[in-house]
């Protein structure tokens, strides 16, 4: 059903599309990050694709890959009922992706979450701050190399303080 969407993207951006695949009718198009905003704007504006609904934006960390962070965008057409998944990858050294908030205002908090948990920066985002964790959190916890047992707390813990008297007298 979404084959025509993939075809439209391929036709409009022949140099940008790296590949596409489909699993049970879910079509994915893999593009280069450079002109991502233009591609997304095309998907939004073109009457044939008409992706009026922004569903989701997330990131996948592939530690082994050269382009380690894969940004995944899900779009949906409310009128036509078809969907498309747009993937683009950026290397770990410069994890910078153009922000699509200019096309979909709703992507704002999704991009902030992706930045918060993966450290992918979205260029052009109006207010790229942490959204779930607090300012001062070290690292990005959903990266595969974030230590699983590492704990951070914005207030000092009691066990780090000098000894406290027991709250109650001992049992008789």
């Amino acid at each position: 059903m979404s084959t025509k969407v993939v075809g439209a993207v391929r036709k409009a951006f022949p140099d940008e599309v790296i590949g596409d695949h489909a699993e049970r009718g879910d079509h994915t198009v893999i593009v280069k990050p450079g002109r991502l905003v233009e591609i997304v704007r095309f998907l939004h504006d073109d009457p044939e694709t008409d992706m009026s609904h922004f569903c989701d934006l997330t990131v996948v960390d592939w530690p082994g890959r050269e382009s380690r962070f894969e940004v995944v965008i899900h779009l949906h057409s409310l009128a036509a009922g078809h969907r498309i998944r747009v993937k683009t990858s950026v290397p770990a050294q410069s994890p910078v992706v153009p922000s699509i908030t200019a096309v979909y205002r709703g992507a704002d908090w999704f991009e902030r979450e992706a930045f918060d948990l993966y450290g992918v920066r979205f260029e052009g985002h109006p207010d790229l701050r942490r959204i779930l964790l607090w300012e001062g959190f070290e690292g990005h916890p959903l990266r595969k190399d974030y230590p699983k047992q590492q704990r951070q707390c914005p207030v000092p813990l009691l066990e780090d303080r000098p000894g406290q008297p027991p709250p109650f007298p001992e049992r008789p």
Binding site: L132, L133, W134, P141, Y146, K148, Q150, R151, Q152, C153, P154, V155, P156, L157, L158, E159, Q164, P165, P167, F168, P169, R171, P172
Partner: protein, 167 residues
């Protein structure tokens, strides 16, 4: 208070009885502040409801300001980001004050053994009674409350806990 003779070492009979009376009164008039964050709230409501009736123990009226409460129920998962809020609310409560960690998450973090969750509220505030369970049955809640009442009854009212503002 005591008339006439100065009390012997260890406290006079009168003082001891007054302390017992105060402890008795305290344990039956717990004003509670529910710090409710997650699904354990359902069991807390159940324990508060007519079937299990927490009010039988004098712990009836929930106060919606920590300044009017002397028992804080921390019900549910507390994230690291909520830790400053919980500590601030604890500091706002006036002495004497007690803390119940309701459910596994509040006690030890539960199965949320990850970067986001505080691994037990006793890492940031002192806890008096832990009620295990995911969620605990209302019977366990009543047992936990009775355990706290038991301890309050044995607490000397003259011996206030060290008033320490937690940073």
């Amino acid at each position: 208070m005591a008339v006439g003779k100065s009390p012997p070492a260890g406290g006079s009979l009168l003082v001891t009885k007054v302390e017992e009376a105060i402890a008795w009164a305290r344990k039956f008039s717990l004003f509670q502040y529910p710090f409710v964050t997650a699904c354990c709230a359902m069991e807390f409501m159940s324990a508060m409801g007519p079937m299990y009736d927490l009010a039988r123990f004098g712990a009836e009226a929930p106060r919606w300001s920590p300044r009017q409460a002397d028992l804080i129920w921390v019900v549910g998962t507390v994230t690291n980001r909520q830790a400053p809020i919980l500590r601030r609310i604890y500091n706002q409560m006036t002495e004497p004050k007690w803390v119940i960690a309701f459910g596994t998450c509040a006690s030890v973090g539960g199965f949320y053994d990850n970067y986001a969750t505080l691994q037990g509220i006793d890492k940031i505030i002192p806890v008096d009674v832990y009620i295990p369970g995911c969620p605990p049955r209302p019977e366990q809640v009543l047992d936990g409350l009775m355990l706290l009442m038991d301890r309050i009854a044995r607490e000397k009212s003259s011996r206030m806990r060290a008033l320490k503002e937690l940073a």
